[in-house]
């Protein structure tokens, strides 16, 4: 998900850079209060851990593998403010020292991976925590589901950026379905692994999981009264959906507009490559409404799958101990 230079046009990249700087600046102010100097080595080690965790490949389906993005994991382990700072450091180091992700696209990559991913994960996590019992297993399940959705939302963030300033000729709905489909699968893996990692950390050192502080200290604000987080999470999801669907239908590229008379849906369907492509299955309808419905069904399926998987995994790790 590391966008290279030239993928998104200059003005969009510049705007994203300014927005990312603002977001991370806010993160620094909030995290800085809590950080003092004590936590700087911890944050640095957490960043190194996230970098290493992104090297962990897991099987997505037969023959393919994905790797962790770590947005949900960082949010639950470190809290969302510090998570966004740490993830921004990871993304920045990857771009500037390891040449992974374009320098001009740094703002875009920070928005997707260091702001959108941890914050959506955090809102979903808090929402689920408010609904679930106050147990370690519930924390792991909530973290897993939140991480899964955060990957999908971060992928949609990319599609949104592509819709605004993509320099490619690929139609936005095709990109939406391809990115959404692939990241739905990656999200399942991310969710399972995140839930199990959180379960493993909780079993060893429950005191260092920032998102589960309420488990140890009954006096700490219980997430139960945070029903508004559920509302905020649902609201955010709806907003994203509402904002993305017009993008999906708009025709942002100048060159595309020249040939507007040719509907992109027909072209996309008759393209010879699509017939054989593994992504072809995702665009069964091709039509916007059907695609949305398919995405919805996929989403529900993913939720159930992850919830079931995380519960099974945490059960298994417990049984092993």
């Amino acid at each position: 998900m590391h966008i290279p230079d030239g993928f998104i046009n200059g003005s969009t990249s510049l705007g994203a850079g300014i927005a990312a700087a603002g977001g991370i600046g806010a993160g620094l102010r909030h995290a800085g209060k809590r950080l003092a100097d004590r936590q700087i080595p911890l944050a640095g080690l957490a960043a190194a851990f996230i970098f290493a965790a992104q090297m962990i490949n897991f099987p997505v389906a037969v023959g393919t593998s994905g790797h962790l993005i770590g947005g949900g994991l960082a949010a639950v382990l470190l809290g969302p403010w510090l998570a966004s700072v740490v993830l921004a450091v990871v993304v920045g180091v990857q771009a500037l020292i390891f040449a992974d992700g374009g320098v001009s696209a740094l703002g875009l990559n920070i928005i997707n991976m260091a702001i959108v991913a941890p914050w959506t994960a955090w809102f979903i996590y808090r929402g689920l925590r408010a609904l679930l019992p106050r147990t370690q297993r519930a924390v792991a399940v909530a973290a897993g589901v939140a991480a899964a959705f955060s990957v999908e939302i971060a992928a949609l963030g990319f599609v949104g950026e592509y819709a605004i300033g993509g320099t490619g000729g690929a139609p936005v709905p095709t990109v939406l379905i391809a990115m959404g489909g692939v990241h739905a699968l990656i999200g399942i893996g991310e969710g399972l692994i995140t839930g199990a990692i959180v379960a493993a950390v909780l079993a060893a050192r429950p005191d260092i999981v920032a998102g589960a502080a309420d488990l140890l200290d009954p006096a700490a604000s219980p997430p139960r009264r945070l029903g508004r987080f559920v509302l905020a999470g649902v609201g955010a999801a709806l907003l994203v959906a509402a904002f993305l669907s017009p993008f999906a239908n708009s025709n942002p590229d100048g060159l595309q507009r020249v040939a507007e008379d040719k509907g992109f849906v027909e072209t996309a369907q008759t393209s010879p490559v699509d017939e054989g492509s593994p992504l072809a299955g995702y665009k069964a309808g091709g039509d916007g409404v059907i695609a949305t419905a398919v995405a919805g069904v996929l989403g529900v399926g993913i939720t159930f799958g992850i919830g079931y998987g995380v519960v099974r995994l945490s059960r298994r790790t417990k049984a092993q101990r």
Partner: protein, 254 residues
């Protein structure tokens, strides 16, 4: 701050580019990539000049082209995406060797390939000529928030330690018959990652206590002051400056 003087992308040489202060190189990199991204994609000659400028910089740095080529492999996933674009693109189509290709898709593929490769090449060149502590100090001298550079400093300093630990866990798991080919194996992957986090965190706590014991007060000591002369800035800005001239001229004459 010993022990972390090289990294995979760094190549030790004695050249004008290696000797340039790191903040000059950072600004130069950002400006060069900015010029490449800002160049209109439908004129071809500016990109030839950008590429020539990059090649000049690579030769000044005495970095072998084979080294650069190997590092550019990281781009492959996006190259694949770019190759697909002419097929899935929309709008007017053209026929090349009997295959129908989208013109917009071809432009998209061209943009990603040329701008992505030039940007990546410039980043690889900076990483090849600058050691990690220098890059971080460069950001500090550019007045980046101390918190960010401090976190990044700890991150890169302990990256090899954490990755080494991960590698040893992998070896231990493989020796015990671990085979990550089906989803049921997610359990062991996750529990090893979980213990990796606990180990990283506890190492962070130990590092902090060790620092306090050595008189850490919240700020890292600065060992040497690097002074940047106007000549350094002029040298560093020559190539990105030319790239911007090219970018602006190409907009005017288009």
């Amino acid at each position: 701050m010993s022990g972390f003087h090289t990294h995979a992308l760094y190549r030790h040489e004695h050249s004008a580019l290696h000797g340039l202060p790191s903040q000059v190189k950072i600004v130069s990199l950002v400006l060069f990539v900015g010029a490449v991204v800002a160049t209109p994609r439908d004129v071809l000659w500016p990109f030839a000049i950008h590429a020539a400028l990059l090649i000049v910089a690579v030769s000044i740095a005495r970095i072998p082209f084979s080294f650069m080529a190997k590092r550019l492999v990281i781009e492959l996933p996006f190259v694949l995406f770019a190759v697909l674009m002419p097929f899935i693109g929309t709008g007017e189509r053209t026929t090349v060797l009997g295959v129908s290709l989208s013109i917009a898709g071809l432009w998209g593929a061209w943009t990603i390939l040329v701008k992505g490769t030039l940007g990546l090449g410039a980043s690889v060149l900076m990483a090849a000529t600058t050691e990690i502590p220098d890059i971080l100090e460069g950001f500090e001298r550019l007045r980046f928030p101390k918190l960010v550079t401090a976190i990044a400093g700890f991150m890169v300093r302990y990256l090899d330690v954490i990755i080494g630990e991960l590698r040893r866990m992998r070896v231990a798991m493989t020796a015990r018959g671990y085979d990550p080919s089906w989803i049921g194996q997610a359990g062991p992957i996750a529990s090893s990652a979980g213990s990796l986090f606990v180990r990283s965190y506890e190492r962070g706590e130990r590092v902090h206590r060790a620092m306090l014991a050595r008189g850490y007060t919240g700020a890292m000591p600065v060992f040497e002051r690097v002074t940047v002369s106007a000549r350094d800035w002029l040298t560093g800005m020559a190539i990105p400056g030319l790239a911007w001239v090219v970018a602006i001229v190409s907009w005017v004459v288009r």
